[in-house]
Amino acid sequence: MRNLHKIGAAALSVALLAGVAACGDDKGGSGSGGKVKLVVATFGEFGYKDLYAEYMKAHPDIEITERVTKAEDHHKNLAAHLATGQGAADIEAIEEGWIGQFKATPDKFVNLTDLGANDLKAQWPDWKWQTSVGKNGAQIGFGTDVGGLAMCYRTDLFAKAGLPTDREQVSALWKDWDGYITAGKKYAAAKLPNSAFMDGPTVMYRSVLGQFDQGLYDNQDNVIVETNPSVRAAFDKTVEAINAGLSAKIAAWSADWNAGFQKGRFATIACPSWMMAYIQEQAKDAAGKWDIAKIPGGGGNWGGSFLTLPKQGKHQKEAYELAKWLTSPEQQAKVFRKAGNFPSTVTLYQDPVITDFKNPFFNNAPVGKIFSESITTMKAQYLGPKAGDINTAIQNGLTRVEQGKQTPDAAWKQALEEIKKIV
């Protein structure tokens, strides 16, 4: 459920080049014994397996088949299936980074408000609801999880560098990103061998950018990178951290990055909730060394997904009922307890099921409380169709600065030129 499942995804995308034309998957026709067959296509870990069984038990006339693919391929396949008008599942999950692209063609999806979704609207934070509303006002998806934002840090390294280790005190270090950079300078001054304050530019840039009201797009799908000072501010703040020598200069989702979690190459990294699962996976032996504090600047969100119903589906009514059930507060709470995906339903943010949840890997940090706060205090941002490519162009610019290839101004200028070509 995290943003881009890059490494493994690339592996399958090679096969995809040859395979796109050949994937005429089974469609949910009426199966044997009069059962309605529903196919649910997801990626990564949605934590739905037990829920499918439970649903089928309560609805003997429904048969659910799941189809799980790597994130990158899942979305590319979906695009191909929508283009050819066949092969899409009855329910297709879409990640936040891709939703802008897909909601640009809302007529390929069932408008959920036609089936009564407006009655459920209050279940989600308004921004989550708005994120999947298409150009024509059609609601194309029900929110599943959200990212939220927090800051993960290494207590052992903080102690060595003479910084506080208690998460309250650490949160107090960085009320804003300037405070984060100041703390980073102290960390850098301690000159710990082979250890920098943060991983690289990507995660910091995305987190700073994610906290502004407006990002890459205005609400009319116009790219405003050049005119919106917030984007340049996120870029500049990250450059400031790079120039202060805080970065380990490691590309996000690279092999060095994965190893870096384990070896303490960096002491902090901004953490959407899905990043917790990633850290636990990469740094199995570092349990108890990581802890979680608040993100500088308060709330924010990065990531999360939606369940959509492609219009080509044969059983839209049944699929609607299932999607509604899967994203209801009770089921989202179950998923959170099992898989850790942070729920997108407002009521749960006050529910002890969530707020009392502590993560043992992260020194029993009250992650439920931290992420609930982050979500409820955040400002929502409109995500346009090419947001992913635009961010890549800007992140590449930051990397060029970090690699000493360009000055910040030159890197920014080149990024703007590349963005013009993308749009």
Binding site: L4, K6, I7, A9, A10, A11, S13, V14, L16, L17, E72, K76, A79, A80, L82, A83, Q101, F102, A104, T105, D107, K108, K249, I250, A251, W253, S254, A255, D256, A259, G260, K263, R265, K386, D389, T392, A393, N396, G397, T399, R400, Q403, K405, E418, K421, I422
Partner: protein, 298 residues
């Protein structure tokens, strides 16, 4: 009657026998080629229903796109860095294997092992070998006091790393082809040379290479075609990123095409790129042909 049948059989049957290939080629080769040309004349987004005709606009935009020329340059550079050493190594390996060795079959099968390894596995392993912080190559260099190289960041270093993967995968394959050709070289030539006191290297240069020239030409053409289509290596070396590094320093033509088609879903532009790539390959093959014809005459 019988003779009529016989004549028809003689005349038509050969065509019938080869027809499956051409039918399949027409379906899976020629049709996509023509269809791609058609798509390339449109503003064709995968997600839109409308695909307005734009004539040659995609091609015009491509010729003005610095990223296209960048990708073309990278492709050429990676092709040279990978093909030249690869074919030289292959000839040397084949020459060594052409001697009587114990366990011949074992050595020869071993040659093909890198080639049957999945390209994805190769790229991931080499990506780790060339890692900046924890890569084995930098560790070895560190032992000799040479500082850490950020293989991905530089243009030349990234091309070398990617070429290493290609060389690793294809050297053995070409060596086997050379070996087969070398075995057709008459032993008497070598025996005479040995009697005259020629060294192994002299025999390689004076006898073997001139005799297997057509095979060398064949491998050069095949690796040119393969080299211009390099895709998985740069994709995986960049951790799955489609831009080929922060400055496109190792984005190849095929990766550039993929970025347009499956990153931005801009199939019109991607199709135009595919056609230009095709023309570049035809051009390179023709150049090869002209050069090698000269060599053959020489």
């Amino acid at each position: 009657m019988k003779s009529w049948l016989h004549r028809a059989d003689v005349k038509a049957s050969p065509y019938l026998y080869i027809s499956p290939f051409y039918l399949l080629f027409g379906l899976l080769g020629a049709f996509p080629l023509v269809y791609t040309a058609w798509v390339s004349l449109h503003d064709w987004s995968l997600l839109e229903d409308e695909h307005p005709f734009v004539g040659l606009a995609n091609y015009k935009a491509l010729f003005a796109d610095s990223l296209f020329w960048n990708a073309l340059g990278n492709t050429a550079s990676i092709w040279v860095i990978s093909t030249v050493p690869q074919l030289l190594f292959a000839i040397l390996l084949a020459h060594i294997l052409n001697n009587r060795l114990r366990g011949q079959t074992l050595w020869r099968t071993g040659l093909l092992l890198p080639n049957v390894t999945s390209v994805v596995a190769v790229a991931i392993i080499f990506g780790q070998l060339f890692g900046r912080d924890y890569g084995m190559i930098n560790w070895v260099l560190g032992q000799f006091g040479i500082g850490h190289i950020d293989w991905q960041a530089g243009t030349a270093t990234s091309h070398i790393a990617i070429s290493a993967m290609i060389i690793w995968r294809w050297t053995g394959y070409n060596a086997l082809i050379y070996l087969a050709a070398m075995q057709a070289v008459p032993d008497s030539l070598h025996e005479a040379a040995i009697l005259d006191g020629a060294t192994s290297m002299q025999r390689l240069w004076r006898i073997t290479i001139p005799s297997i020239r057509p095979t060398i030409i064949f491998t050069v053409i095949v690796s040119t075609i393969g080299g211009l289509q390099v895709f998985a290596e740069p994709l995986l070396f960049g951790g799955g990123g489609l831009t080929g590094g922060s400055d496109g320093q190792f984005q190849t033509l095929a990766l550039y095409l993929y970025q347009a088609g499956f990153g931005r879903f801009d199939f019109g532009y991607a199709s135009a790129t595919a056609w230009l790539m095709f023309l570049v390959i035809v051009l390179a093959a023709m150049l090869n042909f002209l050069l090698t014809r000269r060599i053959r005459r020489a």
